[in-house]
Symmetry: C2
Subunit: 305 residues, 2 copies
DNA sequence: AGGAGCTATAAATAGTTTTTATAGCTCCCA
DNA sequence: TGGGAGCTATAAAAACTATTTATAGCTCCT
């Protein structure tokens, strides 16, 4: 018996399927199958009933899950106890985040990283292409960003993809519901100059339709907010960025369609960073991202791939 | 954190030294050092103070040991619970034992193997050379025996070595204390024909001293006992073999010296048996052997290596 | 019947642990 | 105070274990 086996087994039992658990653990599905099978062979009893729609625990599986939770609890307690007795400072992992995820998950992330056994996380805010550059240069260990060009070398791991919205004064943006891309032609826009993924997608879609956009450029979020709220401009951004203002009725938002414009939030990591550390980070980030979505603060949806 | 790390750490903490723990776990000393270091690095605090005479736990080490014991306890509980729900029969491991260890440890061993996660042990009794032959032929998975000749291929692992005693009627054997080998000349002996290690050692020592021995041969333990108790003969055997009779005063025993005659109890295993299974077996046998020694039933002493 | 959505299997790769061999330290004792 | 016994540390090679990738096969649903 092995903590990894228990952790994998528990994830599968709780997710209700190997595939789902594999996604949440950032591990391949056969890896889970292998470890669960080891457990089953060792103790001579099936733990999971496999169906074509997922799995269900057997009686023995339920018993093991119970014990496994207790064991994992004890392990956490041990780690917490040790965490309080550190002599050496916690290793620091520098993580870049873009504004939207920054608002949504950063505080929780930093708080969580201060305890426990993992590295302490030092945050830095920036836009996607800037963060990618810093990761490439080795000045950041990792970054959460909207996959800019030429980041294949940084083995991007998609966490989620999200749709972009037209956001602006209620009188300009108009009714609820989706908005066809073509309708952007009549609107005064403000777009981010370095907004690689989003900006590129938007301009390309406009070019394909022969549209010309009435746009000015602004990078800083505070500047953009002023332009939207006080100067009657609109922008194309993820819902989360101006979530508060939208809830307050200061701004309105409509999802773009035809084509829908969406971009993926990915985690990129320094090439040298060991795979185990990388996975640790993914596993720390994933639930935070997921929980912010559940809380409705980010209008993200699950990634297609 | 990892159960292996906890197990190793605990063994070292309890044994008071890496070297001693390595012996009891049947693992090399650097393997322990490596795993403990992993723990220490991960949690940023030393767990053990290293001295030239062994180790002592630090404060953090003591805390971890406490937690580790609890965790290991939970793990055992989980294994026991699963063990009761087996659907598939436990795999069977066939183990040969010679008479002395057979008497001392076999019952406990078989009882222990019926529970838990390890294989079920099927015992077979025999003398060393016979057992070695069966292991070589693949008819036994492993055997506890007194290293006979030509067993190098079976990677013998020494568990203990023991001194041989002259045992016989009190009036012949005489006073307490050691007995010089030369004094055997005057005694009527009964030795085991196939008693490879012991018999060979004895005959060689006699040859070197130009002694001739008054001996007859008998293999079966019951026959030997009759010859000693009722027919006034003596034998050269490990103390454990006639422990009951000696305690009862029917027979007397004196350790041979000058030269002392001793032989090693080793575990031999089928060459194909995976290393992990082999170590599992060693780890199951070792404490049983040790506890029988502590109980005084076997007059063995620790091996020199 | 066909397709979506699972799990199983196999082969190659990557990663970790163990061993073997040796160096270096500390204490004890003559 | 030097020598030796008994530890732990370190490094390189070998053995082992886990993960991925790619694909096959199954079951349910329409």
């Amino acid at each position: 018996m092995d903590l990894r086996q228990l952790r994998y087994f528990l994830a599968v039992a709780e997710a209700g399927s190997f595939t789902a658990a594999a996604k949440s653990l950032h591990v391949s599905q056969p890896a889970l199958g292998y470890q669960v099978k080891q457990l089953e062979e060792r103790y001579g009893t099936p733990l999971l009933e496999r169906h074509s729609r997922g799995i269900r625990t057997t009686k023995a599986g339920a018993v093991l899950a119970e014990h496994a939770r207790k064991i994992m609890g004890e392990v956490e307690a041990a780690e917490a106890a040790l965490g309080k007795m550190r002599k050496t400072p916690q290793p620091v992992l520098s993580l870049g985040v873009t504004p939207t995820p920054g608002r949504a998950i950063a505080p929780e992330l930093v708080a969580a990283s201060a305890l426990g056994a993992g590295p302490k996380i030092a945050l830095r805010e920036g836009l996607s292409d800037e963060l990618a550059r810093l990761v490439l240069a080795g000045e950041l260990d990792a970054a959460l960003c909207y996959d800019p060009q030429g980041v294949e070398r940084l083995s991007p791991v998609p966490l989620y993809s999200e749709d972009l919205y037209l956001v602006g004064p209620p009188n300009l943006v108009g009714a609820q519901g989706d908005l066809a891309f073509a309708d952007l032609a009549r609107l005064p826009l403000v777009l981010d100059g370095s907004f690689q993924a989003g900006r590129r997608l938007i301009e390309q879609a406009a070019r394909e339709r022969g549209m010309s956009l009435d746009l000015i450029e602004a990078e800083a979020v505070t500047v953009k907010r002023e332009l939207l709220v006080r100067h009657g401009r609109c922008s194309i951004v993820p819902l989360g960025l101006f979530y508060e203002e939208i809830r307050a009725g200061q701004l309105a938002a409509r999802r773009l369609t035809d084509p829908a414009v969406s971009r993926s939030l990915v985690l990129i990591t320094r090439a040298q960073l060991p795979a185990a550390r990388r996975r640790e980070l993914e596993n720390a980030l994933q639930p935070l991202v997921t929980s912010r979505i559940a809380a409705g603060e980010l209008a993200w949806r699950h990634p297609s791939p």
